[in-house]
């Protein structure tokens, strides 16, 4: 498989802040590549460089074999870009928005309707409604349709699921899967939600402008070394405090309704349970648990600290 996006030690500074520190990676043609990290990790800067909207301060990158600085014109023809916040015209109707974006790329809705059909059909009955009056999920579908209407080679989606309800998020990822399998479109997508990693073919975990790890979601989970335990008790609030104070507990993070912890060698589970009970905890439950991407992210962050 050939690489359609290649980044070579990309750097970007805003004043003294390093937004990107010498990032290198390759995205294969026809894959969904997820860039996962919290707000401020450098995702948007990276996307803007790859979509020719920002100049890198160091390094270089190519999209579809074209340099993002020298051949920015040609790249702009070949990519679809959906920025982080809703960036369509709220005072134009759904159909007018789609028509406008088709036309500025020199094409028509009819010519590429097959590409957007699955997505656009879901909002077509609102085609005369103003885009500003759509719900979050529908806005996102319209934005995706507009980014797709000119049949781009690569699709750049910057945090497309932020602010969208869980059902719409799931639908959205299913649409992306379909775009990849049926139309072979390469998709670069960024998200702050770790649980969305599983939808991607490969992911990169980004923090402070650096990739901490890059692999398939399964590969990242597999490389997680420590044994992970899930802890619960009746006094959840005090529990985290007590866990972190106990020096035999290496890490403890809140994870949904439980805490995920790793232990130092030599501490057994009954010992930990006994310790917590002497601290006054009742109904202590400690169960082994398989790590998720979020656990891997936390572990990696701990290592770099």
């Amino acid at each position: 498989m050939s690489s359609i996006v290649v980044a070579n030690s990309l750097s970007k500074q805003y004043g003294k802040v390093n937004a990107l520190c010498s990032l290198s990676f390759e995205v294969n043609e026809g894959e969904i590549y997820g860039i996962i990290g919290p707000d401020g990790a450098g995702k948007t800067s990276l996307f803007r460089i790859l979509t020719t909207l920002l100049l890198p301060d160091g390094g270089n990158a190519t999209v579809d074999g074209l340099d993002v600085v020298r051949h920015y014109r040609e790249i702009r023809r070949r990519i679809g870009y959906m920025p982080g916040r809703f960036s369509l015209y709220p005072d134009l109707s759904v159909e007018e928005n789609l028509q406008f974006f088709a036309s500025i790329f020199g094409t028509t809705i009819e010519a590429n309707y097959h590409l957007v059909a699955d997505i656009y059909r879901q909002i077509e009955r609102f085609s005369t409604r103003k885009a500003g009056a759509l719900s979050g999920g529908m806005k996102q579908k319209l934005a995706l349709s507009c980014a797709l209407i000119h049949a781009p080679r690569v699709l750049f989606l910057d945090e497309p699921t932020t602010g969208v309800d869980p059902v719409s998020r799931k639908e959205f990822w299913e649409m992306l899967q379909k775009l990849r399998t049926e139309h072979g479109i390469t998709i670069l997508v960024s998200t702050p939600y770790m649980d969305e990693a599983a939808w991607c073919d490969r992911i990169a975990l980004i923090q402070n402008g650096r990739f901490m790890q890059e692999d398939t979601p399964a590969g990242i989970v597999k490389s997680y070394k420590p044994v992970l335990w899930s802890v619960k008790s009746r006094q959840m609030h005090e529990l985290l405090h007590d866990l972190r104070r106990f020096n035999m507990v290496k890490t403890a993070f809140s994870f949904g309704e439980t805490y995920h912890i790793t232990l130092s060698d030599g501490l057994s589970i009954p010992q930990l349970k006994g310790h917590l009970e002497t601290c006054g905890h009742e109904q202590v439950e400690i169960t082994p648990i398989a790590p998720s991407i979020e656990d891997c992210f936390m572990e990696l962050m701990n290592q770099t600290l």
């Binding site: 803007r48 979509t51 020719t52 909207l53 920002l54 100049l55 920015y72 014109r73 702009r76 023809r77 990519i79 870009y81 920025p83 916040r85 809703f86 960036s87 369509l88 015209y89 709220p90 005072d91 134009l92 007018e96 028509q99 406008f100 974006f101 036309s103 500025i104 790329f105 020199g106 507009c146 980014a147």
Partner: protein, 369 residues
């Protein structure tokens, strides 16, 4: 080309679908024109005149009648002495008192030389001087009539005759029309267009537009075209309003007037473009535009005559496009001069436009920063 037209159509949608924008673009020019035409007038009408006549002869009666029938004066009282008239002044009942000394007619017929006293409220100097002027004119014409009956009179008097050129009735509507057009075009072409460009930056749509194959110059042109069209519509509206409703003449060539207006529109649009490259929020664009428009108002000669400004301010005014436009428009519209007399204004405006376009295009970014 098709991309360009779709873009222009989209711009018109933005304008037509926002009632506030429509209000500013189409209603405000009409309101401003009517306001300046009828409300903010510098003409002095209906001056309330009182008479203190110590002579009470045939001549003073005739002069009083003459003033009373004049359309700019209303005779409202006669007082026995000056102090009574002064009290009426203080009560705000009158604007002007005319005092005839005793033996007015006798002095006039014998010595051929006599005088009247005018008491005028000087707290509004402009109005006071206009009233003085009107009264002098009334007196002068009366004297002329008196003498024309007996041309061989020994009492030859030199009567100064002041004739107002170009605007014989000193009608203020005449003067303000070019100024109002100058101001409105500045508002629409600089303020509204820069706000509309910056809006795309602020809402993030510029990001998608830049990431599209559309050349930035096309984006900018397409955004400016609707404002150009609306500006032209406004010139037509204002000209028609002033011609048909207020009777302002088009003394010179309409063609030349439209020509220089076109150049001025381009200058304003390029100023709007420059503003839009300098700021990134709509609020900042609006403030910066207003910062530029307010001096235009002062320096264009619309409100205050340039000639009475200190030289330093007059020099500053020469970098204000509106000043050159208003000057040229007045010459063409009211004085009715030939095109060659506005060559200087045309040249300056053209130069300004080229400079503004060059600067803003060099500042316009084909990327986000």
């Amino acid at each position: 080309m098709k991309q360009f037209l779709t873009f222009v159509r989209k711009e018109f949608f933005h304008i037509f679908r926002d009632s506030r924008t429509m209000l500013i673009l189409l209603v405000m020019p009409v309101v401003l024109t009517l306001l300046f035409g009828y409300a903010v007038t510098t003409e002095v009408k209906d001056s309330r005149v009182a008479v203190v006549d110590f002579s009470k002869d045939e001549l003073t009666r005739r002069i009083t009648d003459r003033l009373a029938t004049h359309s700019y004066f209303t005779l409202c009282a006669a007082y026995e002495n000056v102090s009574a008239a002064e009290k009426a002044f203080l009560r705000g009942e009158i604007d002007m008192v005319i005092v005839f000394p005793t033996g007015f007619a006798a002095d006039f017929h014998h010595g051929g030389n006599t005088s009247v006293q005018l008491l005028i409220d000087g707290s509004e100097p402009n109005q006071a001087s206009v009233r003085t002027g009107y009264t002098e004119k009334v007196m002068a014409s009366f004297m002329q009539e008196l003498h024309s009956g007996k041309p061989m009179s020994t009492s030859m008097q030199i009567i100064p005759e002041v004739r107002m050129l170009y605007n014989p009735q000193l009608k203020s509507e005449y003067n303000f029309v070019p100024g109002v057009i100058g101001l409105i075009l500045m508002l629409i072409c600089a303020l509204m267009s820069s706000v509309s460009i910056v809006k795309e930056k602020e809402t993030g749509t510029m990001e998608i537009l830049l990431a599209s194959p559309l050349p930035p110059i096309i984006i900018i042109l397409a955004k400016l075209v609707p404002y150009f069209v609306i500006a032209c519509t406004n010139i037509a509206t204002i000209l028609m309003l002033s011609y048909f409703l207020m009777g302002v003449p088009m003394a010179g060539s309409l063609f030349c007037f439209l020509g220089i207006s076109l150049v001025y529109i381009l200058a304003c649009l390029s100023l709007g473009l420059l503003i839009s490259t300098l700021v990134s929020t709509q609020l900042a664009a609006m403030l910066l535009s207003l910062l530029l428009i307010v001096p235009s108002l002062y320096f264009s000669g619309l409100a205050f005559p340039l000639e009475s400004m200190p030289t330093a301010l007059q020099n500053i005014s020469s970098i204000v496009p509106a000043r050159w436009y208003v000057s040229a428009a007045r010459k063409l519209m009211i004085q009715g001069v030939e095109a060659r007399h506005v060559i200087r204004e045309l040249g300056v405006l053209t130069l300004m436009t080229f400079m503004l376009i060059t600067i803003s295009l060099s500042l316009f970014k084909k990327r986000l920063e």
